[in-house]
């Protein structure tokens, strides 16, 4: 192995998805000159500490290092999990999906408000317990109210950092002292400070596939409510592919928003590919997720894709996000158990697993949104 191989190894790692920067390659080459180049272990350990920056990258490094140490760089190493899998669509009755609902949303409540047999439907009569699947149009206002309340709470949540204010309960000594110099050290005018509000961001990823038909109406209203009272909400919907709808829901009346959305989603199929959709989300949006972000996934977990892909995408998301909440409308039913392959794969990688089938369950969400 020589210095050139070090550079090539760096490049090979980059090709395999390990983010090795040019400056790290330079560091690697520099390090190479100060270590025992004949000692395989020492070269291995040194370059590993420079080129990798997380333990998950160790296996791929080990494989590639072996090739360059023996001077036999060759074909692409299969990085675990990067292989594409073909997707199968779940057989069964064709579902209508969001597009259908959006086209008929005005007429829908009357027709749909008949109690339909769904898991999660409750027998109670009060609005809070009424299952969303039997919601009328006017009930949607309640949903919007809950959304606004949640958002208000989020905005008020104090962080541990301070900011100066005109009037407050805590004295800002640094500023006060500075000002007191004008009056010969007499503290006449005091400056104050207060806790900076925590800027929690919210990302909502909503399943609008056929199996979610009964809940789409409510969940969209909920997202719409969130979107319009809180600046830092990003919303996405998915069925077989992912679509960002933040702009479509913003600053419009609900009717108007739905019209615009209908135009966008027309022609969607009713199948679900949660794993693939989340992976698509990660590819583009993961960088913007940080510890101040709460990610809410709204889905019943009926996935036609590979559960491994779902698990991988979710664990990536969980590592970056402050909290990952999975809301499953079916969870409202006592008989429901999250046994689907998708849900099973997802469970280890979510922080909060909660129902979302009635108003009470949405209200119960509030404490989970506070980081």
């Amino acid at each position: 192995m020589n210095e050139k191989d070090v550079v090539l190894l760096g490049r090979a790692l980059r090709e395999h998805g390990v983010a090795v920067t040019p400056s790290e390659v330079v560091t690697g080459a520099t390090a190479f000159s100060v270590i025992d180049q004949a000692d395989r272990e020492e070269v291995f350990l040194s370059l590993r500490s420079i080129f990798t920056s997380r333990v998950d990258d160790f296996p791929i490094f080990e494989q590639l290092f072996g090739r360059y140490w023996d001077n036999t760089p060759e074909k692409h190493v299969e990085r675990e999990g990067l292989s594409k899998t073909t997707l199968q669509v779940r057989p069964g009755a064709p579902r209508r999906g969001l597009a259908y609902f959006l086209e008929n949303w005005g007429a829908a409540p009357a027709e749909d408000s008949e109690p339909i047999k769904v898991p999660g439907a409750s027998e109670g009569e009060s609005a809070a317990e009424k299952d969303f699947s039997s919601f009328g149009k006017e009930d949607l206002d309640d949903v919007a109210r809950v959304a606004r309340r949640i958002v208000k709470r989020l905005a008020k949540n104090p962080s541990r950092r301070w900011r100066p204010v005109r009037r407050g309960s805590r004295i800002n000594l640094r500023r006060s002292l500075r000002q007191s110099l004008k009056t010969g050290g007499e503290l006449i005018e005091l400056s104050y400070k207060e806790r900076k509000p925590k800027r929690t961001k919210l990302v909502v990823i909503c399943d609008v596939s056929g199996s979610m038909d009964l809940y789409s109406r409510l969940l969209l209203q909920f997202i719409y409510g969130l979107q319009n009272s809180f600046a830092k909400v990003e919303s996405f919907v998915f069925a077989t592919s992912l679509s960002r709808i933040t702009g479509h829901l913003r600053n419009k009346t609900y009717e108007h928003a739905l019209e615009r959305l209908a135009a966008k989603v027309r022609g969607w199929s009713g199948g679900t590919r949660i794993g693939e959709s989340l992976a698509a989300f990660n590819a583009e949006w993961l960088r913007r997720i940080d510890k101040r972000t709460v990610v809410i996934v709204l889905s019943d977990g009926w996935d036609t894709g590979e559960p491994e892909q779902l698990a991988r995408a979710l664990s990536q998301l969980q590592r970056r996000a402050g909290r990952v909440i999975w809301l499953n409308p079916l969870l409202g039913s006592s008989a429901y158990e999250p046994l689907t392959r998708g849900m099973q794969a997802a469970l280890p990688h979510i922080d909060v697993f909660a129902p979302a089938h009635d108003l009470a369950s949405l209200r119960a969400l509030e404490p989970h949104l506070i980081l």
Binding site: A19, E41, E42, S46, S49, T52, S53, R160, R174
Partner: protein, 288 residues
Amino acid sequence: MRAEVQQIKRLLEEQVYVTDAAVATALYLSMTLGKPLLVEGPAGVGKTEIAKVLAQALNTKLIRLQCYEGLDATTSLYEWNYPRQLLHIKLEESSPIPEAEKEATIFSEAFLLKRPLLQAITEQERAPVLLIDEIDRSDEEFEAFLLEVLSDFQVTIPEIGTITATHRPHVILTSNRSRDLSDALRRRCLYHWIDYPSLEKELAIVHARVPAISEILSRDVTKIIQRTRTMSLSKVPGVAETLDWATALVALNATQVDREVLDETIGCFLKDDADIAAFKAQFDSNHG
């Protein structure tokens, strides 16, 4: 193996720290290339210990910055000594010194409270070891601020000017991976991962740190701990717990681990009620 790496290994071992080539190489590179070393691993495997032992081995000062959410420049870098400033202003109240000069006086180094980062930069004698502990517990804002300090080891205080490090500190950062650190910070650092030790290594650690322990007892202890780590517990015991337990057993004059001794000392390595119940159930099924 390079002589310097061997020397570091020997120095660490003199401080009763059982080490391996990986740690020694990482430390050697970190010191030679002047790059911070990021140490990751589960809780209780001796990440912090590396910094402590390094400071002892180099016979230099250990400066520790414990991170937490909301940690900012005033608690990590510097703060003005307000009470002293106030007193000084009062004393000088009637003196004819012009205001500008008064201001310059109270914002001079004598009125500066040096927090860990500034201490590390201004250390005069020799390069100290700067331990930034549990960086994953601080927030992104602090991480960004830290990047700035670590990139050129200089700090600008508006009232005083720019202070540049006299000796570049040896920086060690630890993380429990409770959150993902930014790529920028990771790239700036060398990376070292410490996992739970193997049976042999843990045995060696026990003998090194609890010399009074008998061969039988130390085998019992490490075997049980190693097996405990394979169970699904809410709090997995680290090496620190192993040592606590071994020390306790020696103090109790135990010759081997039986049910009675276990009942008395289980709190040394399991800290959760449900974990203790699960462990005891398994212990009983294994030992008749």
